[in-house]
Symmetry: C2
Subunit: 284 residues, 2 copies
């Protein structure tokens, strides 16, 4: 496995693979790999002849008071894990390589980024869409892989690709969870052991929302309220709710009434750590 | 020469040309061709094996009170002219094909679009950048051709391509002028014969700015003021100034002092018609 740091080098490597007629898969990441990332790499390995993982903690998707500086990093460990997952090449550029002096171009997906995480992280999705488009243009992959854990991110990237006619396929992969249900996240490393237990409230909330729907409650607003009431006691008082929303799976608009299925998405803070989770709930 | 209207059709045609190993040139236009457009097509013909002209009056680059509805259109005449210029394919999509329901993604180049035309047409360059990026993704050309008459547009597209790592070359071509100096523009067709004479004030202003610099005036603000004073009488009182600016050729920032060269750019209204022009002025 090769590790390159410049746009010129990654383009040369990808061009060589293309010349051999190989298909290209890209897994965009911010590093500090867990099983969620590895599941994307393994799927990319199955679907493509040449697998690129980008590893870049993208400053434009962090707000001023967020954890950019503290975001966990471990390049050596990441490189070993990626190699074991069958990755051909890691692209790990510097901030200056991606955003040189005079940088001033941003991509915005509008309606879909106003709710959910967008309300609390206003510049976040602009940064995500911009860096993904840059990576797509640099690597020019046939397929790019994203986890459903960051559901709004997945849908925003899908919409951007569709709207801007970017010539590639976005592959969304299931959330990978710890045995007890906690969604894998690089940010789980911030949790104390007490907080780690309380963090189970996220996955429990998804199951609870399905129970509410099964009991005949089809109002999105009512499910949201019930889940909000549930979170306090179920986290031993450690969780502060940022949002709980019941939304249309594609438009991400809040659903008054659940006909067939909906996505319940939530963000809570456990101590200083912001965690998100989501799941589909279905009307039987 | 073929004319296609859907993204699927243009992609199939371009893919066939690619399979034959051909290089692709793209000339994005809003139609109603004049010699300026034809000069781009002829250059594209020289540089590439397969030449695509897009013809799309892009609604997202017109403001609410602008001439979208009245913008001149003549597809039959345009097709004949393009064929004579050696174009292989015209891509002429509908508005629905380019902006289907649920469309919500826009590209913004920030600092460079605040001054000059950007001050008076606030959504204009967002629309230009977005439609160009879509066309680049749809056609995937090796080179795309733009006239320097729309200088700010050329620089905005160049910056977008650089910032977003779009894999193509932007070729900027000289402004084509009528024998008396008026820059060719589809909007010249709006002018009455009296207005047509008054419109010469634009190219005369560029020459006058060079004279001022030659006389030793190197202050951008002073040249701007002198040209503003010149425009009224020189247009027989028919021109209303929108802006006169002396700017850095790449950043488009206003220049206090002209060291080597500057771009003077101006926009005036002659009657109801908005005209722009620009030129490089050089310190001898």
């Amino acid at each position: 496995m090769k590790i390159v740091h410049t746009i010129a080098d990654i383009r040369a490597s990808v061009a060589a693979a293309r010349l051999e007629g190989k298909t290209i898969g890209l897994v965009p990441t911010m590093g500090y790999f867990h099983e969620g990332h590895l599941s994307l790499m393994r799927q990319a390995r199955k679907d493509n002849d040449f697998v690129v993982v980008s590893l870049f903690v993208n400053p434009t998707q962090f707000g001023a008071n967020e954890d950019l500086r503290d975001y966990p990093r471990d390049m050596d460990r990441d490189a070993l894990m990626a190699e074991e997952a069958g990755v051909d090449l890691i692209f790990s550029p510097s901030v200056e390589e991606m955003y040189p002096e005079g940088y001033q171009t941003y991509v915005a997906v509008e309606e879909m980024t106003k709710g959910l995480c967008g309300e609390f992280r206003s510049v976040h999705f602009r940064g995500v869409a911009t860096v993904c488009l840059k990576l797509f243009n640099i690597v020019q992959p046939d397929r790019a892989y994203f986890g459903r854990k960051d559901y709004q991110q997945l849908k925003v990237v899908e919409r951007m690709v569709k709207n801007l006619n970017v010539p590639l396929e976005i592959v969304g992969m299931p959330t990978v969870r710890e045995p007890d249900g906690l969604a894998m996240s690089s940010r789980n490393t911030y949790l104390s052991s007490e907080e780690r237990k309380a963090a189970l409230v996220l996955s429990k909330s998804l199951a609870y929302a399905q129970e509410l729907l099964d009991s005949g409650i089809t109002s999105g607003a009512e499910i949201q309220r019930e889940v909000e009431v549930f979170i306090g006691p179920a986290s031993g008082g450690l969780a502060r709710i940022e949002y709980v929303s019941v939304v249309h799976p594609e438009t991400l608009e809040c659903l008054d009434r659940i006909e067939n299925e909906a996505v319940i998405a939530l963000a809570v803070r456990i101590g200083k750590t912001r965690l998100i989770d989501n799941g589909v709930i279905r009307n039987a």
